[in-house]
């Protein structure tokens, strides 16, 4: 971290502690302990710990952060709260998981807290993420992060090879093929055209949805791309998903040999070392490239909000058909785009069974994390894992330039983020009961088996269809239809 940035952080911390920080006053929560559970490692958890120290100094409440493996996070929080163990007061997890917990009555309704909170400035939160905070009109979550996946490219490498940034997924393959094997960091060794984390039981299932969304969803966010909203019949066993699966597998030809065993940390290590020409990622690589250990790519990793398809799914036949203004009204120059809100973002929820004083302190801490004074700093630091979700972050290039972004990178990065957020065809992640099972179990397992060559693409899609149907039946089809429509913003009432 540069001296200037350290000073800026220190000033922000000071300001937070003595003024604009928590809604609570000094010593107000003496003797209260807020126990938080989230994913392990520096990303997400470390900033909660750091801010927790400040919060303790400002309010007296002790903040403890327990870290558990990502794949076990939801299960641990759900069982802790539903079985009455209640060893956790706050869960910081994927915003999309909350609906299942809220449906079981496990989440504290934060609406009264939000109404009294003068420092939150809810209107500053971008509308898409503000909507994520509410379930059935009630504030059940507070975002600490805003997530969707974008495609990044090495501007310098593409320029050196006379290539344009990709616009479609076919372009992605063509560019990856053209630059694969070139030395991209000057170490004399061949580097990779494409880097995607494809390890099973990690986060590979997000990237496949980023690829598929544009081929399946054409009529705007309310259409969805996982199920038929009226019947909950899976929309997965068709030519569009098949094309996405095949393309996703083909990217492996231009990736690192061990890509199938790569988690997000592995690919991040590679692209920061300047070894990747293209990658699918969340907003993090933007600020990550200005960190000290990413000197090889500083100011060189540019983003596009989404890649598209020039053929889209005809839902009546299950076939791919060329894009027209009729079948894809939001298409641009014959290409249909659907930026995927992968994960939605990390958000905090409060255990409804915690004692009232702890709940109050828990809300005060989540509010503290969310307030612009803190989050406008946190989102500009790559390692935090927090990405922009407030208008004051998205509309303020100076904030990013001050953090160390070159001006052209700041413009490109914010343009890509806003391009996705403002796209009327933005594709939503699963936000219904069983969300983790639909994607993190069924989709992830069958995708991994297809990538490993154990099953054909047709078998994988048929298995996903059957697996999703089983989950839908298990939770109750009618209830799931209701939740799915709600998550897409479709209302029959």
């Amino acid at each position: 971290m540069s001296f200037r940035k350290m000073m800026a952080c220190a000033l922000m911390v000071g300001a937070s502690m003595f003024g604009a920080a928590a809604s609570a006053g000094a010593g107000e929560y003496d003797g209260v302990t807020v126990r938080i559970m989230t994913r392990p490692g520096k990303v997400i958890a470390q900033r909660l710990i750091d801010r927790g120290v400040e919060f303790t100094a400002a309010t007296g409440a002790k903040v403890e952060v327990a870290e558990v493996p990502f794949a076990e996070l939801f299960q641990k929080i759900q069982t802790d709260w539903s079985t009455g163990t209640n060893s956790v007061d706050v869960g910081v997890f994927a915003a999309g998981w909350a609906i299942e917990l809220a449906g079981a009555g496990l989440l504290e309704d934060m609406t009264p807290y939000v109404a009294k909170d003068t420092k939150l400035d809810e209107a500053d939160i971008a509308p898409y993420f503000r909507a994520f905070q509410k379930i059935g009109g009630k504030n059940m979550l507070l975002m600490v992060d805003g997530d969707f996946q974008m495609v990044y490219y090495r501007k310098d490498v593409l320029e050196a090879n006379g290539l344009q940034p990709p616009k479609t997924w076919d372009d992605y393959l063509a560019v990856a093929k053209a630059i694969h094997g070139k030395d991209m960091n000057g170490d004399g060794e061949a580097d990779y055209g494409s880097c995607i984390f494809k390890k099973r039981n990690a986060q590979s299932y997000f990237a496949i949805q980023t690829v598929a969304a544009g081929a399946v969803q054409t009529q705007g966010t309310t259409q969805g791309f996982h199920f038929d909203p009226d019947t909950m019949k899976p929309m997965v066993n068709n030519e569009a998903w098949k094309a996405a699966f095949e393309l996703y597998k083909e990217t492996g030809k231009y990736g690192p040999p061990e890509e199938l065993n790569f988690d997000i940390g592995d690919t991040r290590g590679l692209f920061k070392a300047g070894r990747c020409g293209l990658l699918i990622e969340w907003g993090d690589p933007g600020p990550m490239q200005i960190e000290e250990d990413a000197a090889a790519i500083k100011g060189k990793l540019f983003a596009v909000s989404a890649l598209g398809w020039n053929k889209v799914l005809d839902r009546a036949t299950g076939k791919l058909v060329p894009v027209t203004k009729e079948n894809a009204p939001y298409s641009i120059d014959g290409v249909n785009y659907a930026p995927f809100a992968a994960f939605g973002g990390w958000a905090g929820a409060i255990n409804a069974k915690s004692d009232p004083k702890t709940k109050e302190a828990a809300y005060a801490f989540l509010s503290y994390m969310n307030q612009a004074a803190q989050s406008n700093v946190d989102v500009t630091i790559g390692w935090t894992g927090y990405n922009a979700y407030r208008n004051s972050q998205l509309d303020n290039p100076d904030l990013w330039i001050k953090a160390g972004f070159p001006a052209d990178l700041a413009e490109n990065y914010l343009g890509a983020v806003k391009g996705a957020l403002n796209n009327p065809n933005m594709a939503s992640d699963f936000t219904l009961p069983g969300a983790q099972q639909y994607s993190g179990v069924v989709l992830d397992t069958e995708l991994a088996r297809y990538l490993a060559g154990e099953i054909t693409v047709d078998e994988a899609l048929a298995n996903i269809e059957a697996g999703w149907e089983q989950i839908t039946e298990d939770f109750g089809r009618d209830k799931q239809i209701e939740f799915y429509k709600l998550s897409l913003g479709v209302s029959n009432k």
């Binding site: 990690a202 040999p257 397992t445 060559g453 099953i455």
Partner: protein
Amino acid sequence: MASVDTIAARPDLQGPAGAMKETWPEWFDRHSRHIFIWPAVLMILVFAIFPTIASVIIALSRIRFAGGGFQVRFVGLQNFARQFVGNDQIHFLGRFNQMSALGWIVSLAVTAAMVWWFVKFFKGGFNLVGFLGRVITAGMIIGLTLMFSGTLLSGNAWGTLGTTLFYVFVGCSLQFLIGLGLAFLCSMPIRGKSFFRVVFFIPLMITPLGVGYAFRMIADTNKGPIQPFWKWVGLENFSWAADPWAARIFIIVGDSWQWIPFIFVVMLAALESIPRDHVEAANVDGASSWQIFREITWPQVIPIAATVMLIRVIEAFKIVDLPNIMTSGGPGIATESMTLHAVFAWRANDLGQSAAVAYLLLFVTVVICASFFNYVVLKQLRKS
């Protein structure tokens, strides 16, 4: 202590109806068997029987967590059935497209061997328990042969059952051969014997998680600690984790590194317990080293070898740490053992399926190990 005659002669020790009035020490003495046994029985009930029964209930149900507890819906044998038919069949058993000619030949040969086994049994005299035991064993062998013939021998991917058996049979055989070889060498009068004994024993004391991470790093051809070696042998761009067989073999290498010492230590003790005069007498008679091993050493260590293999096989069925750490069960499900299968199902809150897979593992383990014990270990123990 007052005898019965003494009490009968003393009215003050008798109750109103003539019954004897018993003192506390006497009462304690009379009930001491129960008093001492009940804590142990209760412990077993609470920590063994109750979880076993509870997991049967879970295996027959679908459980969903909700506010204030969980909802249980009885689904009968559905969680078991999905492992054999439907879309989970591929995960557990593997993919069955078409049986190859080799698959048919092997299946028929094994079935014929089982028929011959039964004929031999009937000729030796019939007993019901022996017959039922053989029916279960033969059923399991034929079933597993059909599974391997339909998957491995027919060019199809197998599921977690096949992977587990691969770890058990290939891994344990390899570990036994190397462990026995090392023990045999260390039982010889060689220099530095004590040093080797300590060195060979160390891996057994390391946590499996540590072994998993260490082998994951070692096997990383791209940036691991022995990357220069991989580069030197031309495997710099080979990805073991992306190849199902390479990944399985690497896991067996890691598992063997950890467990060979166990075989080594036990077999070394067995070899050193053989009376030296037998070997010396054979030497005097001019027997070769191989003859001495085959005719004197091996027959005397067979019972111990069979027992150590039984213990190792039971342990190997539960393999979970290494595939979880090294590959997370991948690529695909190529390295996923049945225990890891159950862990992943549990992690996804599918407790019913998790319990069902665990019970299937228990069934396979018990049948194979009981068969091994009855038809191999017991036979050798009787001989010795």
